[in-house]
Amino acid sequence: MSGAFESLPPLIAAQLNYLLAHSSLPVKVEQIWSGCKNAQYSDRFTLLVPFCLDHIKWEIIYNAYYPSAAPDVVFPSEDEDFHPLPFLEDDEGGEARADKSSLCNWDGKDPSRLLALIHEMRYLYIHHQRRRVGELDDPRLKFEINTVLSREGIEVCRISGTERTEGVKFAVPLLDMDLNKLVPGCPWRKQQKIHLQAVFPVTRKHLSAPSPPQIKLVSSPDLKMLFTVDDVKLPPWLNGMCMAEYLPNLEEKLQEQILEAVKAVGARRQFIEALATIFGRPLEADPVFCRTATVLCVSGAFIFLVHFCIPTQFPKHQPILTLESSLHVDLQGRPIKSLPMMEYPWSPRWETGHMVERIFEFLVEECLSFKSYCIEASSRQQ
């Protein structure tokens, strides 16, 4: 990718770099290519713009010979009725909107211009999709939209397909709290968020009992260090329910579980601290979420590392142990590792100190078989 960046004219590369570095949304570049006779000059690229818990692919078209000219966008064929530009078509305030557009008086030397354009287009796209959903002749969807669309940050889109599979996807941001501030020293740069994804099938009037939506929780990727939404058991969607009823209940439950997950960080920290008393000071440990720790062990002349991977559900779920020899390497020169181990004596009700003691006892036995495994593996190589 870096090579492709170099083939972009500097003015365009600056705008793209600025977009990738400063966008509050995780925009990605999929491909960079050339639209010139001389194919070594690149001037177009595909952006993956996040929208409604998915992404939309936009082709951004510059002109390598005129890098200070404003770019153009080719939208995917399924969005052929999305026309953000002709501001003059709607009479109300069209001119004013045109003057405010980031395309107006385009300054190619300003690296922030592309970012502004993408955000503006995305904003217009959200409204375009809302309008499309609003046009559907489905009384339940009309009701849902009227009741929940006022929530900040909500996104909806139509999923096209055959008449049976046609649906509307809602992406509802949950919890009005700043997840980045839950754990002190949190290294996350992007704002973390949990969304409820609800896909409603489109039902025409003649069907009396509309089927419930498919619902699932989606979280931003970094959050997995602290809390996995897959562990949350969603409250059931009762017949005739609407989102405005469902959401408060779900949010309350979710909030409880997140606060528990934050408490679990403390339990994991205690566990890592307890490791020090028996195994000695860990070589490495995750200081923020306390998800991993590595200790050095010696058994006779055999020296090995023990990696602890501590789950978010600790102490309900026990840590996963992996042994790594410091003396034996495989053919590629990598240290020989054991398979992850979860089958050892464990009870969540034990004191932390007792947990560590029992793991130590287990490892005293286990390291012998790991040692013979290592010796066997390395002797086979010779």
Binding site: S7, P9, P10, L11, W33, S34, G35, C36, K37, N38, A39, Q40, Y41, D43, R44, E59, I61, N63, A64, Y65, Y66, P67, A69, A70, D72, V73, V74, F75, P76, S77, E80, D81, H83, P84, L85, P86, F87, L88, E89, A98, S101, L103, C104, W106, M121
Partner: protein
């Protein structure tokens, strides 16, 4: 104007070839204005079993693209928001003398390696251009015939080319008609017909009117009876034309052709042959000049491209 829909876009083979040549020889993307006229299509063959279908109320229209004007730079006649500058467009188009019955039909955009559907700005330009076209039509700038057929339908042609393997270039083109719908304008795919010579295009021969800068041959100009009937302006034009023709024929008068018939024909034959040969020589010289100047243009274009790349901050690795 309601109810008029454009059935197809007919583009002259030479015009299409010229646009593609212009595009493939340019360094980057190209766009410009399409010119020509709207014409009625012959109604489809009537059938005698269904009277309702034959009395279709909307006339069938075809857009005949005969000429184009290419702007040498991107966004030559519109801004970054796709708003057409009608005054600029007017000024630029008035620089060239277009044949009669030749009006703005729409525009084209040619871009390499990109999605073959109208882009964000292209849509905006078509909408804006159709408004300009509408205003022009209302202003009565065009001949009566075309004004009658003038629709606020903007034709948009999209060209794309991609260099395939083994130095084969694929040129693709699509034509769209911008149609007003209940919620804004929509680009509708319209079939394209490339007009060439041949029996398949016989129906279009009547649409062809020869236009040439070559003066009209004053055949039978000696027949004074005909001349007397003509107005003063016409006779003036005839005399001006015959002077121009005389210049081209290097003083070889038309009357001398008369001498080719009769007993002295053999003597005059060599004279005519001489004239023919000198004209051939002239043509060859002209061809040579064209070739040389084409090379010069190509070299200059390549230099320009290099300079443009340098200004854009791109370094060429090829020598």
């Amino acid at each position: 104007m309601e109810g008029i829909s454009i059935q197809k876009v007919s583009i002259w083979g030479t015009t299409l070839a010229s646009v593609i040549q212009r595009f493939s020889s340019s360094g980057g993307d190209v766009d410009g204005v399409l010119l020509g006229h709207f014409g009625r299509l012959l109604p489809p063959e009537l059938t005698d079993d269904d009277p309702s279908s034959s009395s279709s109320s909307s006339p069938l229209l075809s857009a005949f693209i005969t000429n184009y004007f290419c702007f040498g730079m991107p966004m030559g006649f519109y801004d970054s928001l796709g708003r057409v500058d009608s005054r600029l467009l007017d000024r630029v188009l008035s620089l060239v003398k277009w044949p009669e019955n030749c009006t703005v039909l729409g525009w084209f955009s040619a871009r390499r390696n990109s999605g073959l559907r109208p882009s964000m700005r292209e849509h905006a330009v078509s909408v804006s251009l159709s408004k300009v076209m509408e205003a022009l039509a209302r202003g009565g700038r065009f001949s009566e015939n075309s004004q009658e057929l003038m629709a606020d339908r903007c034709i948009f042609m999209l060209f794309s080319s991609s260099a395939g393997s083994h130095a084969i270039h694929n040129h693709e083109y699509r034509a769209y008609t911008l149609e007003p719908k209940s919620r804004g304008h929509v680009h509708t795919r319209t079939p394209v017909e490339v007009v060439n010579l041949g029996p398949a295009f016989r129906s279009q021969y009547n649409l062809f009117s020869p236009e040439s800068s070559f003066p009209w041959m004053p055949c039978g100009s000696e027949n004074s009876k005909v001349l007397e009937d003509k107005s003063l302006i016409n006779s003036r034009r005839t005399s001006r034309d015959s002077a121009a023709l005389g210049g081209l024929a290097e003083g070889y008068k038309l009357e001398r052709l008369r001498q080719m018939v009769g007993p002295n024909a053999e003597r005059h034959k060599s004279e005519l042959e001489q004239l023919y040969e000198s004209m051939l020589l002239k043509l060859e010289g002209l061809a040579e000049l064209v070739e040389k100047s084409s090379v010069g243009i190509l070299e200059q274009e390549n230099r320009n491209l290099e300079l443009k790349a340098k200004v854009a901050g791109l370094e060429s690795t090829t020598p």
